[in-house]
Every structure is written in structure tokens, then in C-alpha cells.
């Protein structure tokens, strides 16, 4: 039954892609796309209800054998028969993910109807969007690393197509290419990790791996190596250090794409993969700590960059990187349920923020630079209200979803004794609050810095865009209550539901300390908001400008994203091109040189041969010719022309023959 979930988007993509582009009207294209997303969401809900009622934790369905069995010699020396089936599984983790993907996906599809209304290649956009949903669902539902990898790269391809959707803009196609190749570097790690698992365990079936690891068939060292390699893949996909540089550039794509791909679904693929292979990760302790640390550092690091960004979408991009850092902190400390919980809530409020930002850009007909915004509160009140709710949710304002999920992560971090991670997390939370409200105040408060062109008045977005925003706003608020912690009287239903798959993890915190922690994080958030209020509203951004002048160097470095992009550009991309130039030079000069050299030598040798030929050999040959001629002139006189001479010669011959005959016989 759950296999239907990915089927609908695939059909939608195929219909739009093959027929839509030519035949369909705009309404028809929109209908197929949204219809497919809606059906898929319905199937997800149905499957979810089915899962709740059924007893066993997971259903596995195999369609057919993808790679037939072939013998592989494993590390332990035994011969394993590796067989990869196209099989899917559906358990609580997959349920949550499918619900998020299809739910948020549906809302974004509806939003896109409005946002892309007057775009020329309407059908192509929606077929890519459906294809993306399909690929993401394959990734989530894949029962072995092979199928997951299909989804993994499929999602990469779709993000390449969608980021580079307006391919006339070179910056867009460059961003798309950058995204794909950075993901490819991550996939390099993923493949090697799979290879190591094949070598170590002889299977890439997730359940099989979990069983083998629990059965102790895996040495700790190999487990850590495999986990880290797979984590490298995760950083590529979920834009963590070191492979995060593609996400900010990915803002070149249409905003709904950023919302779907770079907030709700694709970037969470890495988090999902780590959660899915939690047995492997928790078995190798070091891998877990690496995950947690990377998450924490990325959270803070990205937040600093968000401080100085002026493009509204880039601020949200860096905030995404930072929030995913939080999720990895959750996973890193073993609280997989908390990590996924934050993933879900993040999907709600981050896509809300992106879509709202889209609505702002739509209103200002394409303007993305916050410095030329301001005072929009009056102009587009409804967008402002949902934007505020999103900002509050992400900053962890008590009562909203962000607060619950972020708090649970911080609590688990503290409980697991990794105080550094907890501290970084708390700092990150505060910084999140600060840059979010910086964004709010710069866009919606203060005087209007935008110039209203005649033909394009600042207008509120059409309902088809606003309704999904409001739905998301509601979700952003109530999203947290399904995971209400016991402390606040809730039954933490969400964590218990998830732990059916990801294994039990008790926070082990005395209620008192947990309350204290909660208070600390709330205080930090509120303080940050107030600080942002003081700087950007009261003093109209004066301190920010003073800060920028006074320590110009620091400001520039942060603004330039710590020159990481340039560093990557020079070292990796530049290095590869340099190597390419050297290789090309070698190819043209050395090898072809060698070949043409030998040809040259051959030519010279042949010239010598020709000389020798003319002098010696021809000389000899002509000599023979001349001698022959001389001899023949002597003989010539023999032919007198008289018949009788010839007759005589004949007779002499006969005589000779007879004498011989007589002599011999």
C-alpha cells in the first residue's frame, strides 16, 4: 500500500513532462501536479494510520531483484552472495518522513501555482517538482543502501534541474552545477561507505546491516570508518561543514524550490540517513561524537554568517544550515527521536519562512535585498503575521513548535554529558533568535527603503499563496504539542512513536535541571530578540553600521563567508583545472610529441633511406641495365634476317640433341 506514495508523484512528473509541456493548458498542468502531490499525501496518511493500527513495527515490500546475486569475498574471508533487491520498507521513521515530505510538498505545490503563475516553462517546473518528490520518497522508503542511493542521486539531479531552472541566468546554472558536484563529492563518501559495508558484511540491506552489527560481525574500526564515510555523504546532502557552500548559492532557484528542497526535504536526507543507520553509528562511539561536534560547530558557524547577510533568502539559507546543525547535535548525542522531531518542526517553520519571504519578494516584484525593504508591516499585513509566527517558532519562543524540539535536543545534549555541544547549541539558539528578528525588523519595520515602480504596486500575495502560508503557520504553532515533554504534562507521544524504530533513549535528567535548562534557553532567546529590537528598530541599525566600520576586517571576513568559497574555488576547482591543464599539456606535448616525434624520426630515417636508395641501389640496378644493353648489342648482329640462317640454327639444334641422345643412351 505504501508503495503508492512515490507512485503518484512519478505519474504526475511523467504526465507533465511528456504531455504537459506541449499539450496542457496552465490549469491542467497545475491540476495534475497538485493532484499527484495531494494523492501522495493521502496515501501517506492512509499508510500512517495503517501503521498505527498494525502490530509489527515495519512492513517490507520487495518489487524485484535489482542486481542478481554475485559472489563477494568479505573481510572475514568468507564468500558472501551480494544481492540487491528493489525493496522498500515502511516504519515509524519512514512514516514521519513521508508525512513531512508529502504534506509540506503539497502545500508548496499549491503555493507554486501562484508564485510561478506567469513563468514561461510552467509544465517543466511542475514535472521537476513532482519528480523531486518521487526521488525524495524513494530515498526515504528505500530498504537498502542501493535503493536509497537511487533516491539520493535522484534528489541531487532534481535539485540541479530546479536550482538551474532559469537556465538563461548563468549564475543559476553555475549554482546548479555547484550543487550537483558538491553532492557528488558527498556521494563519493557514500559509495565508499557502502563499499566498506559490502566488504565487511557482504550485504547493503539496512535491516541486514543492523542485525549484523548487533551480532558483532563488525569490528569497531571498520564500523567507524564506514559511519564516517557515510556521514561525509550526509554532510554533502545536508550542507554541513565542509560541503555546505552549495546551499547559499542554491537560492538562485525559484523560492518554492528553496522552500521544498533547501528547507523541508532534501537537506534533511543526511539527517534521515544517520537516523536510519543509528545502530551502525551508535555502535561506533567516535562516529557519534564527530556527528555531534560537526553539528554544533556548523550551527554556530552558519549563524555568524547569517548575521551579516543582506539577501533575505541567503539569511534563511544560513539559518537552515544552522538548524540542521541542531538536528545533527540531536543525533550525535544519541537522541535520534529528538533530532527527527526538530527535523519535522523545522520543515514546518522553515518552509513557512521561505514561502513568506517568497511572498515578500513577489510583493516587491523581485527585490531580494533587505536594505531596500522596510516598513512592509503596513503594506502586506497578512504576510507579516505569518512571517512573525515563523520567526518566533524558529527562535524557540515558548509555546511554539521550535521551542519544544530545540529544547529537547539541548536537554539530551546536556544529559549526555557533552557540555561543549550543549553550550554551542545554546549559543546557536540565541544567535538564531537574533538574526531572525534582525530580518523581521529590517524588512517589516522602519522606514520604507524600496522605490515603488509605477507599473508594479506593492501588493499582497493572492490567496493561493497565502492559504498554504496560513496552514503552515498553524502547523508551526501546534507542531510541537504532539511531542510535549512529560515535564509539561505531555505524554511525549512523538518520541515514543519514533523510538519504536530508533531505539529507546532516556534523557535521564532530573526534572529540576530540565526546567532550569528550559528557562535558560528561553531567556537566551528573549534576550537576543530584545537586542535585535534595540539595534534595528530603536537605533535604526546604527550600531550595526558602527560595528561594520569599526572592525572592518572582521565584518568583511564574515560577510565574505570566511572566504571559504574562494578557498574551495582556488584549491579544489582551481586545482582540478590546473591538473587538467597539465594533463592536457602532457597529452598534447609529451605523448603526441612522442608519437609525432617517432613519426619525425621515421621521416628522417626514411629520407636517409631514400638517399641510400638512389645512390647505391639504383646505381647498381642501372649498372646492370647498361651492361645488359652492351651485351645485347653484340648478340643483335646474330639476327641476320635471312631465313636460311634460322633454318640452319634449327638444324644445328637438332644435331646437338641427337648427338646428346646418342651419347647418353
Amino acid at each position: 500500500m505504501f508503495v503508492l506514495i512515490p507512485l503518484f508523484p512519478l505519474l504526475g512528473a511523467a504526465v507533465n513532462g511528456l504531455i504537459g509541456i506541449r499539450g496542457f493548458s496552465r490549469r491542467a498542468v497545475g491540476a495534475t501536479a497538485v493532484g499527484a502531490a495531494g494523492m501522495s499525501f493521502a496515501a501517506a496518511v492512509a499508510a500512517f494510520v495503517g501503521l498505527l493500527r498494525s502490530a509489527e513495527p515495519a512492513i517490507v515490500k520487495t518489487l524485484f531483484t535489482w542486481l542478481p546475486p554475485s559472489l563477494v569475498r568479505t573481510a572475514s574471508g568468507s564468500l558472501a552472495s551480494l544481492r540487491v533487491d528493489l525493496s522498500f520498507h515502511y516504519d515509524s521513521l519512514a512514516a514521519v518522513m513521508t508525512l513531512v515530505v508529502t504534506g509540506v510538498g503539497l502545500l508548496i505545490h499549491i503555493y507554486s501555482l501562484g508564485y510561478m503563475a506567469h513563468d514561461k516553462s510552467y509544465a517543466r517546473y511542475f514535472s521537476y517538482l513532482n519528480l523531486f518528490t518521487f526521488a525524495m520518497l524513494i530515498l526515504v522508503l528505500g530498504a537498502n543502501l542501493g535503493v536509497m542511493f537511487i533516491g539520493w542521486e535522484g534528489v541531487g539531479l532534481c535539485s540541479y534541474l530546479l536550482i538551474g531552472f532559469w537556465f538563461r541566468k548563468d549564475s543559476a546554472s553555475n549554482a546548479g552545477k555547484k550543487a550537483f558536484i558538491t553532492n557528488r563529492v558527498g556521494d563519493f563518501g557514500f559509495l565508499l561507505g557502502t563499499g566498506l559495508l559490502v566488504y565487511a558484511l557482504g550485504t547493503i540491506d539496512i535491516a541486514g546491516i543492523a542485525a549484523a552489527v548487533e551480532g558483532g560481525a563488525l569490528a569497531k574500526g571498520t564500523a567507524t570508518a564506514a559511519a564516517l564515510l557515510l556521514f561525509l555523504g550526509a554532510t554533502g546532502k545536508s550542507a554541513q561543514i565542509p560541503l555546505y557552500t552549495w546551499l547559499p548559492d542554491a537560492m538562485e532557484g525559484p523560492t518554492p524550490v528553496s522552500a521544498l528542497i533547501h528547507a523541508a526535504t532534501m537537506v534533511t536526507a543526511g539527517v534521515y540517513m544517520v537516523a536510519r543507520l543509528h545502530v551502525l553509528f551508535s555502535f561506533s562511539g567516535t562516529a557519534l561524537t564527530v556527528v555531534a561536534l560537526t553539528g554544533a560547530i556548523t550551527a554556530v558557524y552558519a549563524a555568524t554568517m547569517a548575521f551579516v547577510q543582506t539577501d533575505i533568502k541567503r539569511v534563511l539559507a544560513y539559518s537552515t544550515i544552522s538548524q540542521i546543525g541542531f538536528m545533527f547535535i540531536g543525533l550525535g548525542v544519541g537522541a535520534y527521536a529528538a533530532g527527527i522531531f526538530h527535523l519535522m518542526t523545522h520543515a514546518f517553520f522553515k518552509s513557512l519562512l521561505f514561502l513568506a519571504a517568497g511572498s515578500v519578494i513577489h510583493a516587491l516584484s523581485g527585490e531580494q535585498d533587505m536594505r531596500r525593504m522596510g516598513g512592509l508591516r503596513a503594506r502586506i499585513p497578512r504576510t507579516y503575521r505569518v512571517f512573525l509566527i515563523g520567526a518566533l517558532a524558529i527562535s524557540g519562543f515558548p509555546g511554539l513548535s521550535g521551542f519544544f524540539s530545540k529544547d529537547e535536543i539541548l536537554a539530551s545534549a546536556f544529559a549526555s554529558g557533552q557540555y561543549l555541544v550543549w553550550a554551542l547549541g545554546l549559543a546557536g539558539a540565541a544567535m538564531t533568535a537574533f538574526y531572525m528578528f534582525r530580518l523581521i525588523f529590517m524588512t517589516f519595520f522602519g522606514e520604507e527603503r524600496f522605490t515603488e515602480k509605477a507599473g508594479e504596486p506593492v501588493h499582497e500575495s493572492p490567496p493561493v499563496m497565502l492559504v498554504p502560508l496560513q496552514v503552515l503557520a498553524v502547523l508551526a504553532v501546534i507542531g510541537g504539542y504532539i511531542g510535549l515533554p512529560r515535564l509539561l504534562g505531555g505524554r511525549a507521544w512523538f518520541t515514543r512513536f519514533l523510538e519504536r524504530t530508533t531505539g529507546a533513549h532516556e534523557a535521564g535528567l532530573a526534572p529540576g535541571t530540565e526546567a532550569l535548562l528550559m528557562a535558560a534557553s528561553v531567556a537566551a532567546a528573549l534576550g537576543a530578540i530584545y537586542a535585535a529590537y534595540v539595534i534595528y528598530v530603536k537605533k535604526r541599525g546604527e550600531p550595526a553600521r558602527r560595528f561594520a566600520e569599526r572592525c572592518r576586517a572582521l565584518y568583511q571576513t564574515v560577510l565574505r563567508k570566511y572566504y571559504v568559497d574562494e578557498f574551495y574555488g582556488k584549491v579544489f576547482v582551481g586545482g582540478v583545472f590546473a591538473a587538467g591543464r597539465i594533463a592536457d599539456w602532457i597529452d598534447r606535448r609529451v605523448i603526441d610529441g612522442l608519437v609525432d616525434g617517432t613519426a619525425g624520426v621515421a621521416r628522417r630515417v626514411s629520407r636517409l633511406a631514400i638517399l641510400f636508395d638512389e645512390r647505391a641501389v639504383d646505381g647498381a640496378v642501372n649498372g646492370v641495365g647498361k651492361a645488359h644493353l652492351a651485351a645485347s648489342s653484340v648478340l643483335r648482329r646474330l639476327q641476320t634476317g635471312h631465313i636460311y640462317n634460322y633454318a640452319l640454327a634449327v638444324m644445328l639444334g637438332v644435331a646437338l640433341v641427337i648427338t646428346i641422345a646418342v651419347a647418353v643412351f
Binding site: 634476317g641 635471312h642 631465313i643 636460311y644 640452319l648
Partner: protein, 100 residues
């Protein structure tokens, strides 16, 4: 019975005389005639041996030789006439255009 040796000697003699005629005489017509002699010599030997081997082949072969001789003589004379008309002479020595 006639001894075969005699017949062959006769044939040889005729052949030799014919040959000498061809080689010595300068007159074309005489050469042709001696050629006929030569052929007769050959015929005699053929018949002799045919007789000796008691098979009709000898005579048949001789017949064909005669046929050939007839045709050769006819063509020969045609050539001689043509040549005579041109060169007004029968001298064989004049016929040496095919010199080397």
C-alpha cells in the same frame, strides 16, 4: 617385306635434300618447291612407321600433312606474288627487314 630401315633412310634423304634446297637456293619459288620435298620425306617416314606399327594413324597423319602442305603452298605463293609485285625480285636475301 620392305625393311623399315630402308624406308626411314629414304625419308631422311628426301628430308635432307629438301632442307638443302631451302637453305641453299636463293630463289623463293625453288625454296617452296624444296619445302614440298621436305614434307614428302616426312610423309614417307610416317607411312613407313604406320605400316610397321600396323595402325592407320601413320597414313592419316600423312594425309593431314598433305592438306597442310597444300594450304601452306597456296598461302606461300600468294605471299610470293604479293612480294614479287612489290619488289620485282625473288631474291630471298632481300627479305631481311626483320633484322635485329
Amino acid at each position: 617385306m620392305i625393311p623399315i630401315e630402308a624406308v626411314i633412310v629414304l625419308g631422311l634423304l628426301l628430308f635432307a635434300i629438301g632442307f638443302v634446297g631451302v637453305v641453299v637456293r636463293k630463289n623463293l619459288v625453288v625454296m617452296l618447291m624444296s619445302l614440298e620435298l621436305l614434307l614428302n620425306g616426312a610423309n614417307v617416314i610416317l607411312v613407313g612407321l604406320g605400316r610397321r606399327l600396323d595402325s592407320p594413324r601413320g597414313t592419316i597423319f600423312a594425309m593431314f600433312v598433305i592438306i597442310m602442305a597444300v594450304s601452306e603452298a597456296a598461302v606461300g605463293f600468294a605471299l610470293v606474288l604479293a612480294y614479287f609485285r612489290q619488289k620485282k625480285s625473288y631474291d630471298v636475301d632481300a627479305l631481311d627487314d626483320l633484322k635485329g
